[in-house]
């Protein structure tokens, strides 16, 4: 399943040249970077905040911050990882503002076993065309991911929706690799548990 990258081809990422030009004041180069990543940044923000207006604001603010701080970008990481990190921080800040009582932090390791221990062992295969309308599937996928604690949701989004590597996810979140792995496992198992319940029910309905 994972993409295997050959270790001996260390190419220079095309973003490097764009970033260099943008640093020189080339607005067209920066706009090209915006074009490349606006969709991803919006998606990350929407997954974390679960709110479209917030995601729009965050996307604007994240690019503005990136633009203003471009000089500080050293190129030790990929530009996209750096950008995602800015967007994640903006998103978590937004969540904190919304939930005044509850803390939202990547560092709180939620010590709940809720849903992280598999209990449902039904087999299922999603078969969207036959069983459900695409909108129903979308609804269930949104609701399911909404039920995750924000820290888990964020890790899952970067690693499994956006396909960042574990190391890039750790970098974007300021977490250690083991912390990312532990959150990712629990996020995946919790989602699996909830989807199992849903698809099991769906199969029952389809067969009745």
């Amino acid at each position: 399943m994972p993409a295997i990258q050959s270790p001996d081809t260390e190419e220079i990422h095309p973003d490097v040249a764009l970033v260099a030009r943008a640093k020189q004041g080339d607005t067209a180069a920066f706009e090209q970077l915006v074009r490349q990543y606006e969709r991803q940044i919006f998606r990350v923000a929407q997954h974390i905040t679960q709110n479209r207006e917030d995601a729009e604001d965050i996307t604007q603010d994240a690019f503005l911050k990136a633009y203003e701080k471009l000089e500080q970008f050293q190129g030790n990481s990929k530009f996209s990882t750096w950008l995602v990190r800015i967007a994640v921080n903006e998103s978590l800040m937004r969540l904190r503002k919304r939930k005044t009582s509850k803390t939202v932090s990547m560092n709180e390791d939620v010590q709940t076993e809720d849903g992280s221990i598999p209990r449902d062992f039904a087999e299922w295969r999603p078969n969207p065309e036959q069983l459900y309308g695409q909108s129903e599937l979308g609804d269930i996928l949104r609701k399911t991911i909404q039920g995750l604690p924000p820290g888990f949701r964020t890790v899952f989004t970067l690693r499994d929706v956006e396909n960042l590597s574990t190391e890039e996810t750790a970098e974007a979140l300021g977490l250690s690799v083991p912390a990312v792995k532990s959150r990712l496992l629990r996020a995946r198992l919790q989602l699996r548990e909830r989807l199992s319940r849903y698809f099991k029910q769906k199969n029952l309905e389809a067969n009745s």
């Binding site: 994972p2 996307t59 604007q60 503005l64 299922w124 999603p126 499994d160 989602l191 699996r192 989807l195």
Partner: protein, 78 residues
């Protein structure tokens, strides 16, 4: 290998990064334990379903509006 041990290897297993010495044990557990076989398979399905379905729309008009707003903010920040 217990089911808990197996789960602790699940992420590495998906990434193809299980320690070679452990891999045989992991594979044996999958063959012998029906529950973990299902967990493995349905977790894989879970990841795939989120990867394959864009759950939030990003229509062209939103993209244009957003793009314009970003560039406006950046240009006025110079």
């Amino acid at each position: 290998m217990t089911c808990t041990d197996f789960l602790s290897q699940l992420t590495d297993y998906f990434d193809g990064k299980v320690d070679p010495q452990l891999l045989a044990e992991v594979q044996a557990h999958i063959r012998e334990c029906r529950h973990c076989e299902v967990v493995l398979d349905t977790t894989r399905q879970t990841i795939a379903i989120y990867r394959e379905n864009e759950i939030y729309e990003f229509p062209a008009d939103l993209r244009e509006r957003l793009h314009a707003a970003i560039m406006k903010k950046c240009n006025s920040a110079r």
